[in-house]
């Protein structure tokens, strides 16, 4: 590692952390309808949206109504996208004359984008028309992220309101999140990316003469706008198959840094938004410290692993610096590792290197990041509400030790909340372990695996983990596009999304209805180093205990096979 690498890490951390407090405060204000400098521009647009949708923006919803609105909205989005992908051949903006998708792939893709997963069992440039990309996927890139923000906002209100019935209005939260948060930031990022050379055009692909004399079709399209929201909305679905390892999707070192920063920007800022909701920024700092700690552990382990010499090559007469195979040589090791950790931490799923080629240990970090349920920053909104569930578990487990029944921010945690928490705890094991076990038990699905031994097992494990965690990144080397995986992973994605959202909204509703116990020096402290440590250990313990055996059969065995006996 060189000084430049160190500088890159520091720059990366500084760029997404520094704006978080201000941005978080801004998010809070726009989400609560307060006046900001964007209001004159966007307020008329917001009003028109409500009028078109026939929505009374002052009408608040109970959690059941909120959840119903969310489900209906997502269901309509899913069906529309599914049909669009099936019928893409008959729709405009299809200069390459691409045919409609096979129905399992169309369903898988529709679910994937509605659930903010962006698992792609296809290659964008060879499968999707510009219409499908922009109107289909592009819209879901925005609204799936906005849905996550809405759920987080509902939970924050649940924790901060006293003896209240309503959690806010889903339509209002969705509209404001899209208009005031996602659109402006995407616009800025898209312009920056175009400046760096990312294409933004409706023209057809270009046939180029290669140096060897052959011809190559260079895919183009409205990429910059798509990539901006792909990163900011923690979607991760690349415009091109190679995602951000593709030179048109990620042309320069600066674009690489910008894309990396933007995938953690909103999740980090939302931590402060939460603090404003509960009127206690100490809570934000504690949660952020825990997230940052886990991120740094991941980065540290991965970097260390990647800079190791490969023992398999030790006897050969080659000079080894680091394992560059499968990494984009334009970015090098550090930028690739940073991205791999950040993208799996943030439930983004975009990649700038093939995770299949990561050393087993950094592959394990990427896997484990997702297995924790995407709570290390995590998806937009989704990461923080997932983290808050972990906070509730930590408080429930250890809270008794101060001699009071457990409470978080003055809200007592009782049987009903715990029952809902348990439901969310079961999501990852169900999606990863049960569906994964099914995939290896029936004949056929295992054919998707391209490597023998533990590494091959990691491929499958990664695919189901990525789907359930709504991450969407691929390990690479896993031939996912077969009906079994398309359907099962579709199921995993739905489970991973709504298996959290519905219990979270129910918890929010039940917490909102409770009275708030005053906080004092004898309440369970949910800020400060002690709690940060407790929270971190709880997350690692719950995730670790659930997945250690499977990790042992995958990346751990892989690592020990490689390094065993040395």
């Amino acid at each position: 590692m060189s000084t430049t690498d160190g500088l890159l890490i520091v720059l990366f951390l500084a760029l997404f952390l520094a704006p978080a407090p201000l941005l978080g405060r801004f998010f809070y204000r726009v989400l609560e309808g307060e006046r900001t400098w964007l209001t004159p521009v966007l307020r008329p647009l917001e009003r028109v949206s409500y009028r078109l949708g026939g929505i009374d923006s002052r009408q608040e919803q109970r959690w059941q109504q909120y959840a119903l609105a969310l489900l209906m909205f997502n269901l309509v989005g899913l069906l529309a996208l599914f049909l669009m992908l099936l019928l893409q051949a008959y729709l405009p903006l299809n200069p390459q004359q691409l045919p409609g998708l096979e129905w399992t792939l169309a369903l898988n893709t529709a679910i994937s984008f509605v659930t903010n997963t962006n698992w792609q069992a296809y290659s964008g440039e060879g499968t999707l028309s510009y219409f499908s990309q922009m109107v289909g996927l592009g819209v879901q890139n925005f609204v799936s992220a906005a849905t996550g923000i809405a759920v987080l906002v509902a939970l924050s209100r649940g924790l901060s309101r006293r003896s209240a019935e309503a959690l806010g209005n889903f339509w209002v939260d969705l509209t404001r999140a899209t208009l005031y948060i996602l659109l402006p930031l995407s616009l800025v990022l898209a312009v920056l990316l175009i400046w760096q050379g990312v294409p933004q055009t409706f023209s057809a692909y270009i046939d180029a003469q290669t140096v060897q004399g052959g011809t190559q079709a260079l895919p183009l399209g409205p990429a910059a706008s798509q990539i901006a929201i792909k990163q900011l909305g923690t979607n991760g679905g690349g415009f091109f198959g190679a995602n951000s390892a593709h030179p048109f999707e990620n042309p320069t070192a600066l674009s690489n840094l910008l894309e990396m920063v933007s995938l953690l920007l909103i999740p980090a800022a939302l931590v402060f938004t939460f603090g404003h909701y509960v009127k206690d920024l100490r809570q934000s700092r504690a949660i952020l410290a825990c997230m940052l700690g886990l991120l740094l552990i991941g980065i540290g382990v991965s970097l260390w692993a990647e800079w190791q010499n490969n023992p398999a090559l030790a006897s050969l007469a080659v000079e080894q610096g680091a394992s560059l195979e499968g990494k984009e040589s334009r970015f090098g090791i550090t930028a690739s590792v940073l991205w791999s950790v950040a993208t799996t931490a943030a439930s983004n799923g975009s990649v700038n290197a093939m995770h299949d080629s990561l050393s087993p240990l950094s592959g394990l970090v990427a896997l484990f990041n997702m297995m924790l349920g995407e709570v290390v920053f995590g998806g937009v909104g989704a990461g923080l509400y997932g983290m808050l569930l972990n906070v509730l578990i930590a408080v429930f487990l250890a809270g008794l030790m101060v001699g009071r029944t457990p409470e978080y921010l003055g809200k007592k945690l009782e049987a009903r909340e715990v029952r809902l928490l348990v439901v969310t705890l079961l999501v990852m094991p169900l999606g990863v372990l049960v569906l994964g076990a099914l995939a290896v038990s029936v004949p056929g699905p295992a054919l998707a695996i391209s490597n023998p031994g533990p590494h091959g097992f990691s491929q499958l494990l990664y695919a189901y983990t990525s789907a359930t965690a709504n991450n969407g990144s691929a390990f690479g080397g896993f031939g996912a596009n077969m009906p079994f995986h398309n359907l099962m992973q579709g199921l995993a994605m739905l489970l991973g999304r709504y298996g959290y959202i519905l219990p979270v909204l129910a918890i929010a509703g039940s917490l909102a209805a409770k009275r708030t116990v005053p906080q004092g020096p004898n309440s369970f402290p949910t800020h400060g180093p002690l709690f940060v440590t407790l929270l971190t250990l709880t997350i690692l313990l719950v995730g670790g205990l659930t997945f250690l055996p499977t990790l042992a059969l995958g990346p751990m065995a892989d690592q020990l096979t490689l390094f065993g006996g040395h």
Partner: protein, 681 residues
């Protein structure tokens, strides 16, 4: 014996006769009955697993010798038995006390009033709410109830441990009677207020018997989480076989069963019930009956304690603390006059004056029979004696002045000043006169109980505010409040004001505890999150409250808070310990389990355990033995000291969190060495 004042001896005293562990050992086997074990879901899963492995013992298995299979199976059964034993032991301690009471109640007959006003003999167990019974001197009262006619002395030693009989009469605040207490004089007509199975005694039994015990809300919530964790581990273990098969191995079913049992939270699952019972038992030892576990848990959460001044903060009665002679009167004259005026006054105040003066100015006193007593009456508001032609009187300032035909302005300046000062200090001034001459003033003072100030300071550290409730005027109340060190005062309190205050605190989200005895306390007792009624109070109060103190000692509310907190801390500590244990168990079992699939995973065998068999066996043995090791802690409870939440958390996390991580590494290694040494694995 008054159990409350000597809790230490009560707790230490072993039950006479056989030791407690013997019946508990038998009970451990009885409790294997799945219908009973269902109440403890984690242990039920362990029992099912044990049945499963027992069957496996008879089937030949690749890779597992029968000797190892039998050992694993035995230890799984031990795990269940140990947990049952813990529960039985906890029950035994409480039941030893209850059983002796239960014996008395058997075959008791009651004289029940029939519709035509006559009485018939029926078994006491058949009495229903609303039945009216007559109880004669020497008989046991057949059930909890309210006196509707008559007055009698009742010996409540069986319930309270207090040997002096108490008076029970209809109306007023002393009308409630408890079943199995004995009428020692006169007779009572009692209306039974509980149905069979709902009496105080039944409640006591229900608190300490696992099969009947109602789980507390937090216990229910914790149960749900533990079941959730069990489900997760079930998924982990069940899916491990297909994954291993894909990886080209085959895991012995027996090892998977062992893995499941070591992973699921058996330590806390096995001890949860014992912790709950032991907590209630501590309450029973304090002679406090909880109508539901909820109240005990709420006691741990209480923010505000509403305490009656009289009887709780101060000794129930005012005591003589000083005398002031009028001008021209010697101290001896005043002392003699005051002593004689109080000689036959049997109120606590009167007695305190006599006590005070006997120590200060001993004199030869006339025999009680030789004097003509003048008792206190509402009209004169004076008391005293006529003796040897002299008239001695004492009473409130106005009453004595009126008796002497004087007006307030006739009071000598010195005396008037003293009287004002006494009143300002929160005391009560009395005047003494003899033969129409004013002798001086007596200072009656509310005496704050020793140690109560420190107690409040301790509570403050635990985040609990104390509010003193008194009928006194604000000035008097403030003086006593300052002396006792309470945080707030509710002066000139009426039942309505009390109720309003509770609602006000609750509106802020606070939990409120209070105690009371009068019928007019009932609404406030019902409103409070924790309401403790005095056993000698009214039936209305006893019904409205969720705790009843058999000793009628309001200070016990402080002990109840302590018990509630200890209960919660113990539960949290063992949960944390139990879950932290799993890390070491994984490091023991995973390399052993996958030894045939990926031998290189032996790198995870950080403890250097001898062989796959010994590793798995050691983990399962540790898992069973740790329950036994923790039984004393579960029964005794984790002590809490006055500290803020951060300090408590840091300390307990270090002991039970970090300890829970480290202890099993050491324990499993030691067991592995022992098993290898004796050749069992």
């Amino acid at each position: 014996m008054n159990v409350h004042t000597q809790p230490a001896t009560a707790a230490a005293a072993p039950a006479p006769g056989k030791p407690l562990w013997q019946p508990a050992l038998v009970q451990a086997f009885v409790k294997l009955d799945p219908r009973q074990l269902m109440r403890s879901p984690i242990m039920f899963v362990v029992e099912l697993t044990a049945v499963f492995t027992t069957v496996l013992c008879f089937l030949p298995q690749a890779g597992v010798s029968t000797a190892v299979a039998v050992q694993i199976t035995l230890w799984l059964w031990f795990t269940v038995l140990f947990a049952n034993f813990a529960e039985a032991l906890a029950e035994g301690r409480g039941k030893a006390r209850v059983d002796s009471l239960k014996g008395v109640g058997q075959d008791l007959m009651a004289r029940r009033q029939t519709a035509d006003g006559l009485f018939e003999m029926v078994p006491a167990v058949g009495l229903r709410k609303g039945d009216v019974v007559r109880v004669e001197a020497g008989e046991l009262i057949p059930g909890d109830g309210e006196v509707i006619q008559g007055i009698a002395a009742v010996n409540e030693a069986a319930i309270t441990g207090e040997s002096a009989p108490v008076i029970r009469e209809s109306g007023g605040d002393r009308s409630a009677v408890t079943g199995n207490t004995q009428v020692v004089s006169d007779w009572l007509l009692v209306r039974i207020t509980t149905n069979p199975g709902e009496s105080t005694l039944d409640r006591m039994i229900a608190l300490v018997e696992g099969a009947k015990r109602q789980k507390t809300p937090n216990e229910v919530a914790l149960d749900i989480l533990l079941i959730g964790l069990t489900l997760i581990f079930l998924l982990v273990v069940v899916t491990l076989q297909p994954f291993a098969r894909y990886s080209g191995g085959n895991l012995p079913m027996l090892y998977l069963a062992a893995l499941l049992v070591t992973l699921i939270p058996t330590t806390i699952g096995g001890l949860l019930s014992a912790i709950g019972i032991a907590g209630m038992d501590r309450l029973v030892r304090l002679n406090v009956i909880a109508k539901s576990g909820r109240a005990v848990e709420a006691a741990g959460d209480v923010h505000t304690l509403l305490l009656d001044k009289t009887g709780t903060i101060t000794f129930g009665n005012r005591r003589c603390s000083a005398m002031y002679a009028a001008s021209g009167i010697t101290a001896k004259q005043l002392a003699e006059g005051a002593l004689l005026a109080s000689l036959v006054d049997d109120t606590p105040e009167g007695k305190s004056i006599v006590e005070y003066l006997r120590a200060l100015h001993p004199m030869s006193e006339p025999a009680r029979g030789a004097v003509t007593p003048v008792t206190f009456s509402a009209e004169t508001r004076l008391s005293g004696i006529d003796w040897d032609g002299h008239i001695y009187r004492k009473g409130a300032v106005d009453a004595v002045l009126r008796f002497l035909g004087l007006s307030r302005s006739h009071l000598p300046d010195v005396l008037a000043r003293e009287i004002d000062r006494i009143a300002k200090d929160g005391g009560t001034p009395l005047l003494v006169c003899a033969d129409g001459q004013l002798l001086g003033a007596i200072h009656l003072k509310d005496v704050v109980k020793p140690g109560i100030r420190e107690r409040f300071a301790e509570l403050r550290k635990l985040g609990i505010r104390t509010v003193m409730v008194t009928g006194d005027n604000p000035l008097t109340a403030a003086a006593i409040a300052a002396e006792a060190g309470v945080d707030d005062v509710l002066a000139e309190a009426t039942p309505e004001k009390k109720l309003a205050r509770i609602r006000e605190e609750q509106a802020d989200g606070k939990l409120v505890a209070m105690c009371g005895d009068g019928a007019n306390d009932a609404p406030a007792l019902a409103q409070a999150d924790v309401g403790m009624a005095m056993n000698d109070g009214t039936q209305a109060a006893r019904e409205a409250a969720n705790l009843v103190d058999l000793d009628s000692d309001p200070t016990k509310l402080l002990d109840v808070v302590q018990v509630g907190k200890e209960l919660l801390v113990t539960r949290g500590a063992l949960t944390t310990f139990s879950i932290a244990n799993d890390v070491a168990k994984y490091f023991a079992i995973l390399p052993a389990l996958f030894a045939s699939v990926y031998p290189q995973l032996d790198a995870l065998n950080v403890m250097g355990l001898h062989s796959p068999q010994s590793a798995i066996l050691s983990a399962i043995v540790f898992n069973a033995l740790i329950i036994v090791v923790l039984i004393p802690l579960a029964l005794r409870g984790v002590r809490i000291q006055a500290a803020n939440a951060s300090q408590l958390l840091r300390r307990n996390l270090l002991i039970y969190g970090l300890g829970g991580l480290i202890v099993p590494f050491v324990g499993i290694k030691l067991i592995d060495m022992a098993l290898t040494a004796v050749g069992l694995a």
